[in-house]
Amino acid sequence: MTIGEDLRALEAESLTAVEGATTLDALEEVRIAYLGKKGSLTAILRGLGALSAEERPEVGCISNEVRRALESALDRRREALERIARASRIAAEAVDVTLPGRGRPLGHQHVLHQVVDEIVEVFSGLGYRVAEGPEVELDYYNFTALNHPADHPARALQDTFYVRDLSGDTAVVEGESDVLLRTHTSPGQVHVMESEKPPIYVIVPGKVYRRDVADPSHLPQFTQVEGLVVDEGVTFGDLKGTLEHFVREMFGPDRRVRLRPHFFPFTEPSAEVDVSCGICGGEGCRSCGGEGWLEILGCGMVDPNVFGYVGIDPERYTGFAFGIGAERIAGLKYGVPDLRHFIEGDTRFLHQF
């Protein structure tokens, strides 16, 4: 055999070896066996020097071809093997993606405060500020300045919590004390009107207290959001439009709103606001007691007597006020059947909202 033939034979043999290598290590062994320092191709190439000048160019040409063919086969094979290795590594690293993730617990805002925040959002958008007031109030702010007559039943010891007055003053109205737990957020109206001049656009969220035994539909402590507007030219139509907007924001655009005339000492005309039942759409069902409507808040035009207490001219300014019960809204919105859930701190309740 000529050297040329030897080379061709070696080429065929080495290419077979390359294809036969199934691991990167085996492939490297093949490379070393042919192209390494002691490799068989290397040995032949080293032997070129011994060839005659006529033979050398041809053999040199063949041997280069063989080497290139082998090197490119090695590269291809290596890439292929690397691809396989990568694929098997990826396969080995695959996980059951349905296993639970690693998580931090998510803190939940109390549903009442979510509702209050939502109310604040809606009215902030209408240009209302947020005001606050004390929870332990004076009779004057809670009742007198809100046009409650001296013998108004709400002042009774069985309805309102009274706080021991340590000032030494003699109570004007209720026997022992003129200091009480506010029974509504409406005293906030009086505070705002005392300290500010119209235009007034304000809401007052907060806790309020009434002497009710805690049961599914009563709590001695609950949450209200008061609203007050005093400006020139404010009408009952404005009150209606404002509350309709609020209800739609709170309960959705397809709910209907109606205002029914009612009575409150500190507004006139007064009304109660109903929203159409979300379950029956107003047809009447068990959840709305067959009425088709759910009462959600009370409102009215500020009574001129209230303006009298705070020195606002009722001929120049008119205004409206409303009081929203956060428990009522949350209860209706989420179907909470027992108010006591709101106050127990059961995390199974808190996590639902």
Partner: protein
């Protein structure tokens, strides 16, 4: 207020179907709370006629009857009653009927014979009467007709919510007037004048009112020779439909007039009143010290000195407007009656009724306000009715003391004002047309009306009261919805309010759920917590708490969170992370209102999460609480804060710290002591913290955040493990490192604390006795170049020497 539709329709020709009428009432301010259908309970009871009546073959006391109920075949009924004969008409309950007593009629075999229904006694169908005999109906009763319809007990009763400003709607006439006004129907006021004869009433009765402010009017009539007995059926039914128990013909008439006209009446047995020269001298006056009266309900009552009384010369005979006295009550033996029809001060009646816990139909009406003009008309009508149902003659004349007589109130109603307040565009005549059906006279033209408010509408005192009437009769639904257009308003929360809401957001981001607890506190929690108030501090006491456990206002959020923790743990929930933000209250001698302070507090127990497939769930402890606080303070921009070991009686010593911002203690945190947990029925470890929001706000307000350049050159990190005596705190070493660090030291982080395990003998010890090893990672960085080892090493070596000297430690080898 219960309104019988049958009765109502006698007063007003309302033709609307019930649901439409209810809707009109709702939408004009008289809410219909419920609609009761009377007689509905008697569905299935029909008029029947006994065709044959035979003795039951196997039972002496039973008869076996064939009864025609208007069906194809007569019913066979076994009956135990004896008071009837073949041919009689009786109410028959058919199979399937459930009677008011709850009995359902079934086809049943009685001593061998099948009975297909039941003939009924009055009590069985709830129409009054006594005994077990059947109710025998008129011979002309139509066989097969539903009994309730035939008997006239089919009725619809509306239960109305009457607002406090509408005393007029506490009467049938008032409701009829209202219904006429809101539906356009016509209505008539029933009136009657009694036929009078004999000696004038003034010869028998005199009336004196001590204080006309407390009793604007008192009238008395005398009816003689009455025969007290059961009322005729129509009267008893009317009174029962309105919600009162029929008593006797005289009392029932007074109740009937009360419901019909809204005028409370009281009938005295004239014979029992003390006489002065044959004249019963009635005086209306306030009670004297220690006066007593035995009221109709048999109770002896000691009277407060401002109780308004009706008295004769012997003393009190009635609590004015609230309840009569027992001694002067109308009884079977009564023949002569003094009929009181009066008007009393609303506040006085309300005080008396509330003080004595006596709420009656009378007191309810007097409290809201009774029209003084009504007294005479009501007395006339009642006297005529008494004479009609109880016989007797009405003595001529009404004895009438009327010190409170006033001219009707004239009110001005400006059309412009109506429209300005309502946002309407009504014209003057339209307004007058709305008001007149209410019984108001509204005269005038142009842009103003003169309105006279009748006595039965005491709520109409001002222009705005009339505007309210216009609004509800015009219909709130007809007022166009608008939004206030005024300018110059700025909405949203204040920066303080935003800060407060940020505290909540951060605590939630840290994994805490928000709790809202009671603002009430249990004074016994002082002992449970071992809490000591400052010498001048007092708890805020409620005068009328719901319970001992809620007798004060809370002074800390601690108890609220411990109770919530216990609530969850007792229900098997171990992982509890709650925060609460709320007001706490404390007062001191001389204060009217207490100090109110907003606090933020949290409790951590269990783990953050339940152990997972790929992660353990370490128990929460002091350092988780501290971590939450660190996040909070960082988020609020409070950079310079620290904690120091402290003591709180409810927290475990050695695991308690005060939180200090700029030298002020703003709150505390620590693990709750085992004793306290036990007292709150909770289990530990539980970490609590409570921080003053105003203090945080104050600290945060001093913070100004400014941009710091982001480092461009890499940092060099070197570790340092120091062996220091046990009592050297981490904080002390860190501050020594920071102060020795110089410009290149960027940050220090503690990454390990090592102590030799307990009981390790000397040769095995890695640290000297009484020491610990603290390992820190120090980061050095220069703003202008990459630091080489040659740059850092000398700085670090110098720092190590300084720190060792300052804290008395040495580098751990």
């Amino acid at each position: 207020m219960r309104v019988s539709l049958t009765w109502l329709k006698e007063l007003v020709d309302v033709t609307l179907p019930v649901d439409k009428l209810c809707e009109r009432l709702d939408m004009t301010g008289t809410k219909v709370e419920a609609v009761h259908t009377l007689g509905a309970a008697l569905d299935g009871v029909v008029v029947g006629q006994v065709i044959t009546k035979e003795q039951h073959p196997d039972a002496d006391r039973l008869s076996y009857c064939s009864v025609d109920v208007g069906a194809d075949e007569p019913l066979n009924i076994v009956c135990g009653a004896t008071n009837f004969e073949a041919g009689d008409k009786v109410p028959v309950a058919q199979v399937g009927t459930t009677l008011p007593g709850g009995v359902t009629i079934k086809r049943a075999k009685l001593r061998g014979l099948v009975s297909e229904g039941m003939m009924c006694s009055p009590t069985e169908i709830g129409v009054g009467g006594e005994g077990s005999g059947l109710l025998i109906l008129d011979p002309d009763a139509p066989v097969g007709e539903p009994f309730a319809e035939y008997y006239g007990i089919a009725d619809t009763v509306l239960e109305l919510e009457v607002t406090p400003n509408r005393p007029d709607c506490l009467s049938m006439v008032g409701v009829a007037r209202e219904v006429a006004a809101i539906t356009g129907a016509t209505f008539t006021v029933p009136a009657s004048a009694p036929a009078e004869e004999g000696a004038p009433a003034a010869d028998l009765v005199s009336v004196e009112i001590e204080d006309g402010a407390l009793c604007p009017r008192y009238t008395a009539r005398v009816i003689r020779g009455v025969k007290v007995g059961p009322s005729p059926a129509w009267l008893a039914e009317r009174v029962a439909a309105a919600g009162a128990r029929p008593v006797n013909n005289v009392v029932d008439v007074t109740n009937y007039i009360l419901f019909e006209l809204g005028q409370p009446l009281h009938a005295f047995d004239l014979a029992t009143l003390a006489k002065r020269d044959g004249v019963a001298a009635v005086t209306v006056r306030a009670a004297r010290e220690d006066e007593t009266i035995r009221t109709l309900d048999g109770q002896e009552r000691r009277l407060a000195s401002d109780t308004l009384l009706i008295t004769d010369d012997d003393g009190p005979v009635a609590l004015a407007g609230v309840m009569g006295g027992e001694e002067t009550e109308v009884s079977e033996a009564t023949t002569d009656i003094l009929l009181e029809s009066a008007c009393f001060d609303t506040a006085s009646i309300s005080r008396t009724s509330r003080r004595l816990g006596l709420i009656s139909e009378s007191s309810l009406r007097y409290e809201r306000g009774v029209d003084p003009d009504l007294a005479s008309r009501a007395s006339d009508r009642a006297a005529a009715l008494i004479a009609e149902v109880a016989g007797g003659t009405v003595a001529p004349g009404l004895v009438d003391a009327y010190p409170g007589q006033r001219a009707p109130l004239q009110l001005r109603l400006r059309t412009g004002r109506v429209n300005a307040l309502l946002g309407t565009d009504l014209e003057t005549p339209a307004i007058a047309t709305l008001l007149r059906p209410l019984g108001l006279s509204a005269e005038g033209s142009g842009d103003e009306l003169e309105v006279v408010a009748p006595g039965f509408r005491p709520d109409l005192e001002r222009e705005v009261d009339l505007i309210e009437e216009v609004a509800r009769l015009y219909g709130l639904e007809n007022i166009t919805s608008t939004l206030p257009g005024g300018g110059g308003r700025i909405g949203g929360r204040t920066s303080r309010q935003r800060f407060v809401s940020r505290i909540g957001s951060v605590l939630r981001a840290a994994g805490l759920d928000e709790h809202v607890g009671y603002s009430f506190g249990d004074p016994a929690d002082l002992d449970r917590l071992g809490w000591e108030l400052a010498p001048d501090e007092l708890l805020v006491e409620l005068i009328n708490p719901m319970s001992e456990e809620q007798a004060v206002m809370r002074w800390t959020l601690t108890s609220s969170l411990l109770r919530a923790l216990s609530h969850n743990q007792r229900r098997g929930i171990a992982d509890v992370h709650l925060y609460e933000m709320g007001t706490v209250f404390i007062t001191s001698e001389g204060r009217k209102q207490p100090k109110e302070r907003l606090m933020a507090a949290g409790v951590l127990a269990g783990s953050w999460v339940r152990p997972g497939w790929n992660e353990p769930a370490p128990g929460l402890d002091f350092f988780d609480g501290k971590g939450v606080l660190a996040s909070l303070l960082e988020a609020l921009g409070v950079e310079r804060w620290s904690v120091r070991a402290a003591e709180r009686s409810w927290l475990q010593p050695g695991r308690t710290a005060e939180v200090i911002v700029r030298g002020d203690v703003v709150g505390w945190l620590g693990e709750v002591s085992a004793d306290v947990l036990e007292r709150f029925d909770a289990s530990g470890p539980a970490t609590l913290f409570e921080i003053s929001v105003p203090a945080l706000l104050k600290a945060a307000s001093k913070v100004t955040t400014t941009f710091k350049e982001i480092p461009r050159h890499p940092a060099a990190a070197l570790d340092l493990a120091l062996v220091v005596p046990e009592d050297v705190t981490s904080e002390r070493v860190v501050s020594a490192i920071e102060s020795a660090g110089g410009a290149l030291l960027e940050s220090v982080r503690l990454f390990d604390v090592y102590r030799d395990p307990e009981g390790v003998e000397d040769p095995e010890r890695r640290l000297p006795e009484g020491t610990k090893s603290l390992a820190f990672s120090l980061t050095y960085r220069a703003a202008d170049k990459t630091l080489s080892d040659a740059d850092v090493r000398p700085v670090h070596d110098k720092l190590v020497r300084k720190v060792c000297a300052v804290v008395g430690g040495e580098v751990r080898s």
